[in-house]
Symmetry: C3
Subunit: 349 residues, 3 copies
């Protein structure tokens, strides 16, 4: 699929600087070449931009002047680039119908425009919406509902009577609706607490490879519209995630925690159970969250690696902070030099 | 399925306060309504309890007085609630037999009361016990043994001649018996060390979605009776986990580590290799364990996220602890004020 | 399969101390018995070595004297042991051909010496090299290429037109070539950025169970020859990993990061995006890497768990480091005792 710059400018509301008849075949990085289109969204790439052999670049007005190429000018170059990339590189067309090796329960409702891939399984009373793609080996369990235009890629498991909205994408190996970790003490062991809630996923949600989302214990686990979940994320039972929140890979969220709207959570973050995280909160990668966070803004706490000698000395110092505090207190006592602010801290030192 | 309060009181050894003929249809949270039964186990829910419209609540004697409903009194309300929930919400009944799309090796032994789901594979010499449920796409590899009443849910992989006991539940995407990470230095690269041990899993074990348990290198990896493993846990080769230990999601345990009985390990914990963790040890979430822990009790080490300005200042402070220590030492030297306790620490400051 | 010590000595270039006709049936730990062979590579096992009932041990010259058994002497006992283990315990033989339940696209090229397992899927234009093993349920997507002698074990997903080299092993549940986490801001939500790059994996690479490797956004994600990836690792889009680097389980590497050759990265490590890690860098387990590391050597930063009282006090101390620093500054100011080195740090205290 290809398009001219003129067609792209019209389709995506860009101002065009350059020949509208220039034909674009594909998108590329700034290292690409003729017939390709790239984008630039930060001054960090000015050097690569100056050297680019691309036919055109999407840029905002500020950076357009630095482009040695034709320019599609737009306030939001990254989103415009994404739209052009989607146009030039469309996914494989849907092949409506049920693959002969797939199995569909007799009382399941599969829209005739949906594609059900090889070895897929559609359970009893399940409903698959229009133009859905259900990939190879995908398992849509009993009572599950999948909204229109949603793609369950290969090897996705959706059980626990989960509901997934429209235009979602779920990547391979994701498990949605498995039992939460519910255990009651019983003697010296544990008794499994039946997990009876479900998972409700809104529209336009993306869920990464091998990510797991547990069903609620009694109520539902809720993932709101527009949420973005990367790979290998774990969402515990009864978690609620607000609209448009994006969470990077390897993050774990323990049960019953509520996360607000438009949050951005870096990779490898751990979030404890039964806490509240408000709207518009940003947590940098590898953070550990053990208490509720209400104030919008960025949060972090990373002790990054150091050369091992330094790292060990730092950890040793940390472990001996008690001793250092005591030494300072003795000096204060002996010398009579104290500060009011500091004195107030002595009690719990 | 439903039951009267009188039937439930008899079946689960509760003292009943209320009408024994009240019929319970399902379980619910305290926000539920008539015909439903909930439970309360802590004073944190007294407000919700006062407002509940449930027909009955399971509670201990202490909290029973606060219930505005019928009460099933029991010393362990959570476990009793779990038992009632299991009675009222039984899993789908077993459909004994082998699904026509499943494949069973000719020398495998599958108990006729077991259910083998669609697209399941049962390997050579494998043994499947009575009343087992082997889910869709589940792979029971060559020589694997599964005890009676165990459920391998959809897409579970059990290989490496692993043995799983009775009444276990393994959730979708779990991989049991894959090769451990065994590599021998060989020039500037690595040589794979064949992984020849197996995995032995006891009775009443639950294993979460996408959790991985490696086979031993030469001896076996051992998961004892009653262990609870949440989702996305990684168990390295030759790890041993004692009975009734519960481990929350996203925890990783490196090779040859031994964990005792009745431990509770919070989510996102990392446990190094070749260490020993005794019985009855509790590790709070996101902990990093690099040395053996013998003394029963709770362990933690979390530097939780802070607003980014605070977080960065704290990390800066930590990195400059050496300088702060040096400043204190100079003051001590110049002023002649030292404490014996502190002095003893100077050498390795 | 069995061999005599004489045969093993010749095959693997060892010096033999003992009877060349002694027959070895299998390998074992030092706790093994007659007919078995073990190895010893460190003085930490001298006690077990003295008590061993094995028929033979692989050891270097230094430890050979301590072996109460026949000895196969070699400079690299671990690698030699691995080679002998592979000889005595060969994997199940390949069964060339396509299993009747597998599906192969008409334009795929499958070498006739390859084994395609039950329920496997080989996509359009895919190429499977000589003597490959494609396990049960393995999915080789459209345009994917798999080199000779590579093993995709059960339930492996390879999509995104990925290329995998020769002699690789990919363990169950791994997902290679899924979409990277590419999102462009669009109003208050996110727009998916099409992921169009691929994954290139070299020769002799091993990839663990449930590990995920994303395809590049525009360019490729690259895993070089001889890399070892353990279970549940996440590799973001456009990451590059140099030859012979080994990474332990549960590590996450964010997008566009480049890691050098011969690195060793401990388990549970988090590595941020768009950073560079040079050659020969060792990162101890649970490290957090937020900046580039260029100098070869070992890096660490672990605040290990402490008994909870100690752990909480340490964290409290860390949070009050500002106050402690202020107290020291007041003493310095009041007493006139400062150190030049320390003074230089006051500005940003």
């Amino acid at each position: 699929m290809s398009a001219t710059l003129g067609e792209l400018a019209v389709a995506f509301g860009c101002q065009l600087r350059g020949d509208p008849d220039t034909r674009i075949e594909s998108v590329a990085t700034l290292a690409g070449g003729p017939g390709q289109l790239g984008f630039v969204a930060s001054k960090g790439y000015l050097e690569a931009l100056a050297a680019t052999r691309l036919s055109a670049v999407v840029a905002d007005a500020r950076l357009a002047a630095s482009c040695p190429t034709a320019v599609l000018m737009h306030r939001n170059p990254h989103a415009t680039f994404a739209r052009i990339a989607a146009l030039l590189h469309p996914p494989a067309p849907l092949r409506p119908g049920v693959h002969p090796s797939a199995q569909v329960a007799t009382d399941a409702q599969v829209d005739p425009t949906a594609e059900i891939g090889p070895f897929a399984l559609i359970g009893a009373r399940a409903r698959i919406g229009a133009r859905c793609r259900v990939g190879a080996y995908a398992l849509v369990g009993d009572g599950v509902e999948i909204g229109a235009d949603t793609q369950l890629l290969a090897r996705v498991t959706v059980i626990g009577a989960a509901r997934i909205g429209q235009r979602c994408v779920v990547h391979p190996g994701a498990v949605i609706g498995s039992d939460g970790f519910g255990n009651a003490r019983d003697g010296e062991g544990w008794l499994k607490v039946p997990q009876l809630g479900s998972v409700h996923i809104g529209d336009d949600v993306e869920i990464g490879a091998n990510t797991t989302i547990d069903r609620g214990a009694l109520d539902n686990t809720v993932i709101s519209d527009g949420v973005r979940l990367d790979n290998q994320i774990q969402i515990g039972h009864n978690v609620q995630i607000g609209a448009h929140t994006a969470i990077a890979a390897c993050t774990g969220i323990a049960g019953s925690t509520r996360i607000g709207r438009r949050c951005m959570i870096g990779g490898g973050t751990g979030i404890g159970g039964q806490i509240e995280i408000g709207d518009d909160i940003i947590i940098s990668g590898f953070g550990m969250v053990t208490n509720s966070l209400h104030e919008p803004g960025m949060y972090s706490s990373v002790l990054p690696v150091e050369p091992v000698r330094v790292g060990r000395r730092i950890v040793g110092r940390i472990k001996r902070l008690d001793v250092l505090g005591e030494r300072v207190r003795r000096i204060e006592t002996a010398s009579g030099i104290t500060s009011e602010q500091a004195t107030g801290q002595h009690d719990d030192d």
